[in-house]
Amino acid sequence: MKPPAPLLPRVLLDPASALGLRPLEWDLLLRQARRGVLLAKLAVLLKPWLAQVPPGPRHHLHAALMTAERQAKLTHWEVSRIQAALQPLDVEPILLKGTAYLMAGLPASEGRVFGDVDILVPKARIADIEAAFLAHGWNFQDDLDTYDERYYREWMHEIPPLTHEDRGSSLDVHHTILPPSARIQVDTAALFEDTRELAGLPGVHVLAPVTMVLHSAAHLFHEGELEKGLRDLFDLDALLRDFGRDPAFWAELAPRARKLGLSRPLSLALRYTTRWLGTPVPSEVLAAVSTGVPAYQPLLDACYDRALMPDHPSCDGPLTGIARLALYVRSHWLRMPTGLLLQHLARKAWMRMRPTPEAAAEA
């Protein structure tokens, strides 16, 4: 498989340039975007010019927008169901990742594809919480074998992922933001101290801006690898641009990272968002988190290998216009509906948002 041309990042950074693309380039662009889980993002960025996009690609972009919009609506519902299940327990969950961006109305939620809901809850209440979810229609996977279950419970100290029996939605219940096996140990108690309660949804929280960014950075560079690549980098960029309008955010960022033990991921995150996406980060913040050249060189090498990059990115200063990016795209399907038979009164709305070719073959 030949390495992807840097078409996708080029267009994401300069959307108007897409208008000059030939049909075959559109073809490649959309396929790259889909695999990078960035089709909806691309569609949002191209919105001002959508009418000028040729009909073939335009349908795909429009479909991506429709899907993102629909998923957002269903995510709202999902969160309301989660709140209803936990309220009698007096447990106030903290929403994480994409769900948090959406429910908090953050720009980072635009063009995002929503799938699993991730929540953070106090470790001490895990047993009660698990029971509550099971009582409200969530189940564990049928085919979860004992090894998998032990892996989750004993090794990851988590309950296995839950799926709702009617809606088909997925729920991951965490009590830490990094697995205990991670090299970095996060002070979880500190996370609960400083959250933001959602207006209109009492008892449901999101992380404070600085913590949200640190969490995103921690996952982006967990184990020193670019796990989810460009998509997650765009998330981080969006968060930084939005929160960064407040100088107090920047003042708190490095000190908080130190307190939580997340200085290194933050340093890597800021390095890559500034270099690749031109995220405006004050130089004093960059200096404060800098950990020196040797730390990132192996990372860069690893990135390039996995990114199948034809060229090396420019190492001279910040990104200007179009530059070569190390692109690590992981294959992923944009989650979309399928014709599953549903129960009489309820529809597996989420299952419909995640079709597989296998399911279509069953029809």
Binding site: T338, R347, P355, P357
Partner: protein, 304 residues
Amino acid sequence: MKIRDLPPGDVRRRLARGDLVLKVPPFVARLRSDVDRVAEDLKLLYADFELGTTDDFADFHLEVLREGGLRRWVKPMARFFADGEPAFSPLPAEQGFHMVEWGLNWAVSTMAHPYLSYHAAALERDGRALVMPAPPGSGKSTLTAALAHRGWRLMSDEITLYDLATGQVSGMGRPVNLKNVSVELIRQFAPQAELTRPVPDTAKGTLALMKAPEQSVARIMEPASPAWIVMPRYTAGAGPALHDMPKARMLLLLAEQAFNYDLHGRRGFEATADLVDRCECLDFEYSTLDDAVRRIDQLAAEAR
């Protein structure tokens, strides 16, 4: 240029290079395969379909490629890829084109968003469309194949597209799926029907695909006004009987059989409600194809 206009060997060559760009309005599929059987079946089933050029934008890139290894010679297996991602377990290479069809179904069902797409067959007569939603095992495909050779224009067997703006339905003129006894039944019922060589012993039994008649494909861009929504139920020994089905129930049934109903949200609900509102909603029990076709023809002849 149509597939049938290509010089001998060209289909196979284009498929091998991944240069076969097939127009299946409203979509364009780019196909690649190194399996001879895929070329053979494609030539038969899509003979009347137009080709695009390799510079065209393609909505889907579908591939059926031989698996390597020792098995390659003993029992060749093939794997399906959609946009570079594998899907389905590898299957005997002779099922290659069935994989293409499943893959196309899936691709279309995930993409048909300007339309509401239903898992249903559709046939047209005198400008009016008969829509048959049906879960597997209802005999829908057999009935569709039969009607397609008795004066009804085949629009689709699997995926019917409903235009929210115009209220018209359309199809893609793609092959009809036949299984087990239906293969022979249709051969008897319509000797002129063009079928692929049946593939025995698949997980679903013996499979064959029936080409859409040339007239159907020629008129594929013509939508039709939906007039009847009929739920067929093959019941051994049953005389043909059409019964009214409550519209609300048909609405739910259609919603169940729709691919992108949820995506359209409220519009999907209202459009489906309008559809059942405008159409006669019927339940159809039958056992022989002759009876079934006669009864459906009668339905079409009755004044509305």
